[in-house]
């Protein structure tokens, strides 16, 4: 029986908003995901600030596979499978550094920063000079860059990164725009958090796509003044007195999703950073710049989203999570944190400390998410559990082509307030790629 045949098992039912538990726990489906999703889609692999100089490299991952992000001696970016073409040994075992070559520790095949096989021990005596070095360079993925973010894709038939992102591209552009919408870039704060989450990789991706419904998860941290507003709440914007209309935007053809908040004109954005004078001053200037750049549209504040399949971004607490598959029951999470490169040091420091106490496995907020995803997964494994799909039908049938403001969705569908529209869009795309629709 084909594990994916939609006739035998409806895995995703977008019309009813149902998603089978099998897709989170079944080993055959997990294996198929590696081929049909992770080997075909663009995947975020890193940021330019990790590889500024020729020879800089950093380890990354694409799906389950270790890759190397390298800037070659001439300045071009490459993403290589971190596996020797001879007999598979990982050619680089350091997390980051600067190198002119990667020498395999097993038998010594040596690759240059362009991935070319440059030296082979015993080439003459062992291989009789018959080894065609040009055919045995490192396996290389396509690479593309968008506003400092670096993406890679194994499949030559997949559209360009721009076309693949489609209308969701603006979320990535916005994410990598500094707060005043002016010149300058984000820079990565050194250190990528990596940890093991005992649940399927899709739980995190789906949650960040648009789960404005899960405040109960954060009932404890919401009793504390975690944010730089000085007021109770985990988000800095919880302190803004005017209540926004939440916006969920789903892009049907790509599975990408974004979410944000539309504030009334003249809202008091500064209360979000009121407890920290340096942040208050910085965001006061930044918001003036943002209004100059964006006019009326500056009152839409993006909160985050998920780029299908496994990259989630959080605006404000400027961070990217990658939900790497590591077996059907295990996700390896990587979290990258960013600050505006030209912000004053005190601003960078306050933002850094806010993200550390908010997100990641030690963050007062994310700790509780992971408990929920872990045990949701565990309770979904049994024979009986698998007969009963997850309910993701909130707001089904109420999606709008245009929300409160026509310029927000731009190519997506909108739902305001709490909704599971984005999750449905995410799983519809999953099902399309898996051949399960």
């Amino acid at each position: 029986m084909d594990p994916i045949d939609p006739g035998t098992r409806p895995l995703v039912d977008p019309q009813r908003g149902l998603v089978s538990r099998e897709i989170f726990v079944d080993a055959q489906l997990y294996a198929a995901e590696q081929e049909r999703i992770f080997a075909t889609q663009w995947l975020f692999v890193g940021h330019v600030s990790q590889v500024r100089r020729p020879g800089d490299f950093v380890v990354s991952r694409m799906g389950e596979e270790p890759v190397l992000l390298v800037r070659d001696v001439d300045g071009a970016l490459h993403v290589f499978l971190n596996s020797c073409r001879h007999r598979g040994m990982q050619v680089c075992r350091y997390d980051q550094g600067n190198a002119t070559e990667f020498a395999c520790p097993y038998h010594g095949w040596t690759f240059d920063t362009k991935g070319r096989l440059a030296a082979v021990p015993a080439l003459r005596e062992g291989y009789f000079s018959e080894l065609e070095l040009a055919h045995w360079g490192l396996v290389e993925a396509r690479v593309a860059e968008l506003k400092g973010s670096i993406w890679a894709c194994w499949d030559a038939a997949t559209p360009s990164l721009d076309d693949w992102l489609g209308d969701a591209r603006i979320w990535i552009e916005e994410f990598f725009t500094v707060p005043d919408a002016g010149a300058g870039e984000l820079e990565l704060i050194a250190g990528v958090q990596k940890w093991t989450l005992p649940c399927n990789w899709k739980f995190g991706a789906e949650n960040f796509s648009g789960d404005n419904y899960h405040n109960v998860s954060h009932a404890s941290v919401d009793q504390l003044a975690l944010s730089p507003s000085g007021k109770t709440g985990r988000h800095q914007y919880d302190a803004i007195p005017q209540k926004p209309v939440l916006q969920n935007i789903a892009y049907a053809s790509t599975g990408h999703c974004g979410r944000g908040a539309l504030y009334p004109p003249g809202f008091d954005f500064l209360s979000a950073y009121a407890a920290v004078p340096q942040l208050h001053a910085y965001y006061q200037r930044a918001y003036a710049g943002r209004q100059t750049q964006l006019g009326e549209q500056a009152r839409f504040v993006p909160h985050g989203g998920t780029i299908f399949p496994n990259m989630s971004f959080s605006n404000g607490r400027t961070s990217i999570a990658l939900w790497h598959p590591a077996g059907p029951e295990t996700c390896e999470v990587w979290r990258f944190y960013f600050v505006p490169e030209h912000a004053p040091e005190a601003v960078k420091d306050h933002l850094r400390r806010y993200v550390i106490r908010y997100q990641g496995p030690s963050g007062l907020t994310e700790e509780d998410d992971m408990e929920n995803w872990n045990l949701a997964h565990r309770a979904s494994r049994g024979t009986i559990a698998r007969r009963h799909p997850y309910h993701m039908a909130m707001g089904l049938g109420h999606e709008m082509a245009v929300g409160s403001e026509p310029w927000i969705a731009r190519g997506g569908t909108v739902m305001e307030g709490v909704s599971e529209q984005n999750q449905r869009g995410y799983y519809r795309r999953w099902a399309q790629l898996m051949g399960a629709l």
Partner: protein, 177 residues
């Protein structure tokens, strides 16, 4: 001559005092007496646990992320530690609700420097966590502490927790180390 007039014995007593501080602290954490644990911390305490990278042995400089500059597992003071304790007491902090059962094993305690108002004390630890029915987690590492000598006893003034993990093997760090 009383024991404390003998420098070697006096030092031994300080070693014992430092050990006892660490063991008492571990006991408070494992019995979930978090407010009492907070009282052992100086008001200006710094609590830091860096990330650990795989780097060449000949260039160890990049192994740890830097305090006050880079991303860490923890880089905070008493205000945030107190928030964590408040969160533990809410009854709706799901990562620790129902509570984990923990066992902090502290060993290899070394009084590295006791010449000033803050003693430098190093120790190793194994942190064991049992959660729900069968979840079992282990973390191992070292700690570099500074214990401040106060009239009414020692206070933790600084802690650097050096864990032996690159990819953290557990889902969250909802405990103290």
């Amino acid at each position: 001559m009383s024991a404390v007039d003998n420098p070697a014995l006096a030092r031994l007593l300080r070693v014992r005092e430092a050990e006892e501080f660490l063991y008492r602290e571990a006991g408070l954490l494992d019995r979930r007496e978090f407010s009492a644990w907070l009282d052992l911390l100086a008001d200006d305490v710094r609590y830091f646990m860096p990330l650990r990278r795989n780097v060449p042995s000949r260039a160890p400089g990049d192994e740890w992320t830097r305090e006050g500059q880079d991303i860490a597992w923890f880089d905070e003071g008493k205000d945030v530690l107190a928030m964590r304790v408040t969160q533990l007491h809410t009854g709706v902090h799901w990562a620790e609700e129902p509570p984990s059962r923990t066992c902090h094993l502290v060993s290899n305690v070394l009084l590295v420097d006791d010449s000033g108002p803050e003693w430098e004390v190093h120790s190793h630890f194994i942190f064991y966590r049992s959660r729900m029915e069968r979840e079992t987690d282990l973390l191992a590492g070292r700690r570099e502490d500074r214990l401040r000598v106060m009239p009414d006893g020692l206070r933790l003034a600084y802690r650097r927790v050096l864990i032996d993990h690159n990819v953290l093997p557990i889902k969250n760090l909802s405990n103290f180390f």
